[in-house]
Every structure is written in structure tokens, then in C-alpha cells.
């Protein structure tokens, strides 16, 4: 066997295969959570019923901010998890807030009338709050601790174990 050819082949193929393995081994849609560990961007919005809501008013309590829309099926799958969590942790002082992402308020109202909700649902004119939170698809959920710091961001529907674990850590 010609060892020199073998070594030359390995020098070319091993880095190439490693590069491809690294590239195909991760989901290209997953991106770094740029805001984790940093202060949550402030926002003052109105609920779909016209009531004002400011994130600053909730400071001192853990807050769960969920970006969602009615055209997003995973958001509907996630809805019961949020309902259960709001029911269980709302009395313990956790604030739940939903922010509408690129959707029509009438559709949101109709959906919430059917599915119910235990939290204020906020309109986000111009999508500024979604941009401030770096939302790149829904659902995305931000867990904000008592000091106003984002401790976790979940892209995609939040599972019950993740919801419970994160909230228990924040309380």
C-alpha cells in the first residue's frame, strides 16, 4: 500500500468530512439566543381590550412573555400548556403575557373566545416589540425573572416539563 497517497487522501478528506458533519449536524434554523442573560427590552402596549400594559409594572415578579399568532399551529399546541401554567403559577405571582405576532386582532379574539386565556393579550403595532426581542418565528417564549433579566428563551412550543422547571427556578 502506498502510505503517502493514503496520508494525502486523509489530509484532504478528513477536514472536509468533519466540516460537512458539523454543518449537517445542526439545525440551520437554530440561532443563538442573543438576549438570554440580559435585561428584557421594555415595552408598553395595549391589550386587545384597550387596556394599557407595561412590562415595567410587572417588575419584581417573574414574567412569561409569549409571542404567538392564530395562523401558527404549534402556538395552538402550546396553548393548553400555557393555560395550565398560568392557572398553577399565576397565584404564585408569575405574570403571563401574550404578544400577537403578525396577526389580525379579530382572529385572535375569536380564537381566545374558543380556547380561553388567563393572561393579557397585547397588540404589537409595527411588530416593534417582536423585533426588540429578536423574534424570528412563532411561538417564542421569554422567561423574565424578578430582576427583569431574560433567563430563558424557548423557540417553538414550550413543553410542560420545560415550563415547570423554568418557573420553579425563577420563583
Amino acid at each position: 500500500m502506498n502510505w503517502r497517497v493514503l496520508i494525502a487522501g486523509a489530509v484532504v478528506t478528513v477536514p472536509l468530512v468533519s466540516l460537512l458533519a458539523a454543518g449537517f449536524g445542526r439545525d440551520p434554523k437554530l440561532r443563538s439566543n442573543a438576549l438570554e442573560g440580559r435585561d428584557a427590552p421594555s415595552f408598553s402596549l395595549r391589550t386587545i381590550d384597550g387596556e394599557p400594559f407595561s412590562l415595567a409594572d410587572a417588575k419584581g415578579s417573574p414574567v412569561v412573555v409569549n409571542f404567538w399568532s392564530t395562523w401558527c399551529q404549534p402556538c395552538k399546541i402550546e396553548h393548553p400548556v400555557l393555560m395550565d401554567a398560568a392557572e398553577a403559577y399565576g397565584p404564585a405571582g408569575v405574570h403571563f403575557v401574550a404578544v400577537i405576532y403578525q396577526d389580525d386582532v379579530s382572529k385572535v379574539r375569536a380564537y381566545l373566545n374558543r380556547a380561553g386565556s388567563h393572561w393579557p393579550t397585547l397588540e404589537d403595532p409595527g411588530g416593534r416589540t417582536a423585533i426588540a426581542y429578536g423574534v424570528a418565528g412563532v411561538p417564542e417564549t421569554f422567561f423574565i425573572d424578578k430582576d427583569g433579566v431574560i433567563v430563558r428563551k424557548v423557540s417553538g412550543p414550550v413543553s410542560q416539563p420545560i415550563m415547570v422547571t423554568t418557573l420553579e427556578e425563577m420563583l
Binding site: 494525502a8 440561532r31 443563538s32 442573543a34 438576549l35 427590552p41 421594555s42 415595552f43 408598553s44 402596549l45 395595549r46 394599557p52 403578525q102 403595532p125 409595527g126 411588530g127 416593534r128 416589540t129 417582536a130 423585533i131 426588540a132 426581542y133 429578536g134 423574534v135 424570528a136 418565528g137
Partner: protein, 176 residues
């Protein structure tokens, strides 16, 4: 003057909000979430348009695959484009606006990553190519200068000569 321009920009970008007469909310929304004030005065219209277009082409649509904000028809891209326009009209510089989006979405949001931060990535292919050419040249030079490879010499085994002679004789007979 600045607030007038801001109000005009917001009217253009978000008619739904402006129509709601919630001036306080509009003002708060426009200024919320921005860590630093604008570094410049609001630019003139032509400058603002050019800056907005450059930024919309340089930043990535957050819900698309490889499309800029300018090229994408998605609602999210439109919202981002409007936000860029608002910030430009307020006097935020291109660097400030880019930093604002990178801060939220990560470096991924820039379609072309800044070269100074990823120099290795840009240089690596040229280094690899140069090394490959160098190896080939060295190999070719050695091949030219080196001794020709020795051809193994054939020396018939004397013990087998009788068989060889017999085969050759038979072949001769068949040929006749």
C-alpha cells in the same frame, strides 16, 4: 423638528396605531427598547432613503432562508424594514441600527458577516489552495529530479527451463 419627522415616519409606517389617536403610546413605542440616543440629526430625505435601502439590503429577513429584508415579501420583513426606516429618520446611524439588530438577533442577521471579525474564514480557502499548489509543485519537482524507478529484472529459474523449452517447442509445432 425631530418629533415632527418622527410623527410623520410613524404615520407612514403604522397607520393602524396612528389612527388610534394614542399619541402617548406611539411616542413610547417609537423610543422604547433603544439603549442609546441617535448619534446624528435626522437626515435629509435623499440620505434617509439611501441609508434605509442599504440597511434593508444588508440585513436578513428573520423568517426567510437567505433573503434580505428588501427582497422578502414576508410580513416580518416588512415590519423590520419599517423599523429600519423609522430609526434612520430619527437620526440613528447605520452602525447603530446594525448593532441594534445584531444585538437582538445575533450576528446571523447580517447577510455578510463583518470581515474584520471573521478574517480566518475569508483567508482559509486561499491559504488551503496555496498549500495545495505548493505540495503539487514540490511533488512534481521531486518526480522530475529523482531517479527513474527501477524495473524489476527478470531472471528465469533454471529449474523450470525444461518446462519452458517444452512449451515453446509445442507452440512451434502448432504454428506449423
Amino acid at each position: 423638528m425631530r418629533s415632527l419627522l418622527l410623527a410623520l415616519a410613524l404615520c407612514a409606517a403604522t397607520p393602524a396605531v396612528a389612527a388610534g389617536d394614542d399619541a402617548d403610546i406611539v411616542e413610547e413605542l417609537a423610543n422604547a427598547q433603544l439603549p442609546d440616543p441617535p448619534m446624528e440629526d435626522p437626515p435629509e430625505e435623499a440620505t434617509a432613503v439611501a441609508r434605509t435601502e442599504r440597511l434593508q439590503k444588508a440585513l436578513r429577513c428573520p423568517v426567510c432562508q437567505g433573503l434580505s429584508v428588501a427582497d422578502s415579501p414576508a410580513d416580518a420583513a416588512r415590519a423590520m424594514g419599517n423599523r429600519i426606516e423609522e430609526l434612520v429618520l430619527q437620526g440613528y446611524t447605520e452602525d447603530q441600527i446594525t448593532e441594534y439588530f445584531v444585538d437582538r438577533y445575533g450576528a446571523w442577521v447580517e447577510l455578510e458577516p463583518p470581515k474584520e471579525e471573521h478574517q480566518t474564514l475569508f483567508i482559509a480557502p486561499f491559504v488551503g489552495l496555496s498549500l495545495g499548489v505548493l505540495v503539487l509543485l514540490v511533488w512534481a519537482r521531486r518526480r522530475e529530479d529523482g531517479e527513474p524507478e527501477a524495473v524489476p529484472s527478470y531472471s528465469p529459474d533454471p529449474a523450470l527451463s525444461q518446462y519452458r523449452d517444452r512449451i515453446l517447442a509445442e507452440l512451434d509445432e502448432e504454428a506449423l
